[in-house]
Amino acid sequence: MNVGAACSSGGTNGIEQDPHVLAVDDNVVDRKLVEKLFKNSSCRVTTAENGMRALEYLGLGGDRQSCSSCQASDICPSHGLKVNLVLTDYCMPGMTGYELLKKIKESSHMKEVPVVIMSSENISARINKCLEEGAQMFIQKPLKLSDVKKLRCQVMQRRS
């Protein structure tokens, strides 16, 4: 049963806001899976199909950095919901997840947002590179419900 028309989530107790996740993946099947995994875990989800779209959504390089509404609250009338977690695939055409991670960490107002990288390949050089660049975590695909619950916990802990 869907509680709360505005949110794309199952809804929690309403005292704490459900975390808002931006999931970036070029594979449509994976985007659909990630979206459902997070919705079933009481999170709001926005998906993006590549790094450029993700950056646009985050308003990086644009006027979001200097927007006072964004700084003041979780919802900005011009820019929408604040993002509490970015989850991105590593292997994407154009901008890789690593490059997206770098751009986020280089920005002044988004660098505190945790970024988690997903990959189907377990390459330690890749993992280390991402962690060194500031990734919160590296998760192996395919994503499972237990992975998502863990992530939600971590995000909520950071917020409190």
Binding site: M1, N2, G10, D26, N27, V28, V29, D30, K32, L33, K36, L37, K39, N40, C91, P93, S120, K141, P142, L143, K144, L145
Partner: protein, 243 residues
């Protein structure tokens, strides 16, 4: 001996007394079919994840994801066929496509397609077009098989839902049957028996001095045990000695 009319009447009476008999039968058939797909390696535990995610807020979730998988895969397979037909094959592009297909098949639990993609990718590194085309054929075959089976499974699911029933969820079994490369009908007193899971490439350890028989399907039956447990990276695999 009942005649046809009496038999039909008996059946009708039974249906009235047990109106959900058909539903129970459908659920049983569904569970059996589902279990066979896991047993034969067509699906793995990731598919169970999908089924567990389906709920009232999105009762067609599995169907939607699977449909996306079908559409995407068919496009990728067409692109792959075209790419491999070129004079100068762009192996980087081929690899990228296979990577995509491997990813989506892994995400929905289409295990055999995923493994066929892994084998295909290994071949891509060698950059031999004919070999790649052969591997592509394998992938296509596995794709068509799983597509057919998923469509059957989902149809059975629809029938159950239409009859007002709930869908039994099958857990992916931990025990699977392994294929043995030895001749059927032989008895082995193995010190070393070679067992290979063609889908997982994991080895199992068999207890030494165990008597085993290879049945007519070429399946290894360890004495007293119907199926063998797969242990990851278990180490030695061995040669069989014929008794």
């Amino acid at each position: 001996m009942l005649n046809v009319a009496e038999a039909q009447e008996a059946l009708e009476i039974e249906k009235i007394e047990r109106p959900d008999m058909d539903l129970i039968e459908m659920q049983r058939q569904f569970a059996e079919y589902s279990a066979s797909l896991f047993r034969e390696g067509f699906l793995d535990s990731q598919f169970t994840q999908l089924q567990q995610l389906q709920d009232e807020s999105n009762p067609d979730f599995v169907l939607e994801v699977v449909s996306l998988f079908f559409d995407g895969s068919e496009r990728l397979l067409n692109d792959l066929t075209l790419s491999l037909e070129q004079e100068m094959v762009d192996f980087k592009k081929v690899d990228a496509h296979v990577h995509q297909l491997k990813g989506s098949s892994s995400s929905i639990g289409a295990q055999r397609v995923k493994n066929a993609c892994i084998a295909f990718r290994n071949c891509c590194e060698l950059q031999i077009p004919e070999a790649c085309r052969a591997y592509l054929q394998q992938v296509k075959q596995e794709y068509l098989l799983v597509k057919n089976k998923l469509q059957t499974l989902l149809k059975m699911e629809q029938q159950i839902v239409a009859a007002g029933g709930s869908i039994p969820i099958t857990e992916c079994p931990e025990w699977i049957r392994l294929e043995c490369c030895h001749r059927p009908g032989c008895c082995y007193k193995p010190e070393w028996i070679r067992l290979e899971c063609c889908y997982r490439m994991e080895w199992i350890i068999s207890e030494s001095r165990m008597v085993a028989r290879v049945d007519h399907l070429g399946l290894m039956l360890l004495a007293g045990v119907d199926q063998a447990r797969v242990l990851p990276q278990a180490g030695v695999l061995l040669q069989a000695g014929v008794d």
